[in-house]
């Protein structure tokens, strides 16, 4: 977070130095995006707050934590493959889950399948590439995501 705040500050100063109007435009664009996404973000925070009350931290970290087995990992991979969650919501959610005891490995596989594999969008994807190629791309991406999750689990 500190890194990011610093980066924003430096970028803002540099941007102001070079072009004031462009800076105002950029800041306006960012704030507009933020306001547009605020209700969706608040909704997720509410749902997560209720969810974390219903499912205690211990249960969560047993199921998806550092010492959890294959099951949690597989559930995360499958869930990521069939979900369509915008990243503006995925990351705040992932941040909360991380603090609640979910492991990096599980989060990595969930995020990567979420981004690269799209079961729900397969019909659309097939219109561009044909069914065979679309399915192949998704299968390869799924395998790739599993590898990414496993490797990250080795380090973090």
């Amino acid at each position: 977070m500190k890194f990011l705040l610093g980066l924003t500050f430096v970028s803002l100063v540099l941007s102001l130095f070079f072009d004031k109007n462009k800076t105002i435009l950029g800041v306006k664009k960012g704030i507009k995006m933020f306001i547009g996404l605020l209700p969706a973000i608040l909704n997720v925070l509410i749902l997560v707050s209720v969810f974390l009350y219903l499912v205690p931290k211990e249960t969560l970290s047993n199921l998806l934590g550092k010492n959890s087995g294959v099951t949690g990992f597989v559930i995360a991979a499958l869930l990521g493959s069939v979900s369509l969650i915008p990243m503006y919501i995925t990351y705040p959610l992932a941040g909360i889950l991380l603090k609640s005891g979910v492991s990096y490995r599980v989060l990595a596989v969930f995020i990567t399948t979420l981004m690269m594999v799209g079961v729900l969008t397969l019909p659309l994807e097939s219109k561009y590439f044909g069914w065979k190629v679309a399915v192949l791309r998704n299968v390869l991406s799924f395998i790739g995501a599993i590898i990414v999750g496993l490797i990250i689990g080795l380090f973090l």
């Binding site: 950029g26 925070l45 941040g95 390869l140």
Partner: protein
């Protein structure tokens, strides 16, 4: 009255309003669980509201200073390392969900990008977008983000090569639906 209720039900804030009511009523009746839920929510909310605006400002600034039109000019420039570089750079400047990348993949195809680079584009688009990395660093840390980026990069480049090898002599084309 009915009109007002209907209006509220239509807004995106309906859940927020219901949640507020729930907390309020729980307070009156001393419903204990709501206290924990409320504490959870306040903790998350304070964290989000202090950081998110800055992240979005950074994304907004990035958007005005690095227009993707400049990079688009280089697409189709060979299929070697240079081609891969431009395709990944273009993908990093985009925003939005994966299905937003398919129309761009079609445009790249029209512009003469190779099969390999089309799929490398899709991989980079889904995992290396700058706005996405901003959020990732903010919520999961620089270490995780760097590691995930470094591991994912070779994975989707490899997928690109596999797709090209498989589709080379199969009359593959990207269509516009």
């Amino acid at each position: 009255m009915k009109k007002i209720i209907l209006k509220i039900a239509e807004t995106e804030y309906i859940l927020v309003i219901l949640f507020g009511l729930f907390i309020l009523i729980s307070r009156i009746f001393n419903f204990a669980p709501s206290k924990i839920i409320q504490d959870n929510f306040c903790l998350f909310f304070v964290e989000m509201i202090t950081f998110l605006p800055f992240m979005f400002i950074l994304i907004g600034l990035f958007d005005v200073w690095f227009p993707k039109e400049k990079v688009e000019k280089h697409i189709g420039e060979g299929s070697g390392v240079k081609g891969i570089f431009w395709v990944i750079l273009l993908a990093m400047l985009q925003a939005g969900p994966l299905y937003g990348a398919f129309p761009v993949a079609y445009l790249l195809w029209k512009k003469g990008a190779s099969i390999k680079n089309i799929f490398i584009y899709l991989g980079a688009f889904s995992t290396l977008k700058i706005p996405m990395l901003t959020f990732e660093i903010g919520f999961l840390g620089l270490k995780f983000s760097l590691l995930r980026t470094l591991v994912t990069l070779p994975v989707f480049i490899l997928i690109g090569y596999i797709m090209e090898t498989y589709l080379k002599n199969k009359n593959f084309e990207v269509k516009q639906p």
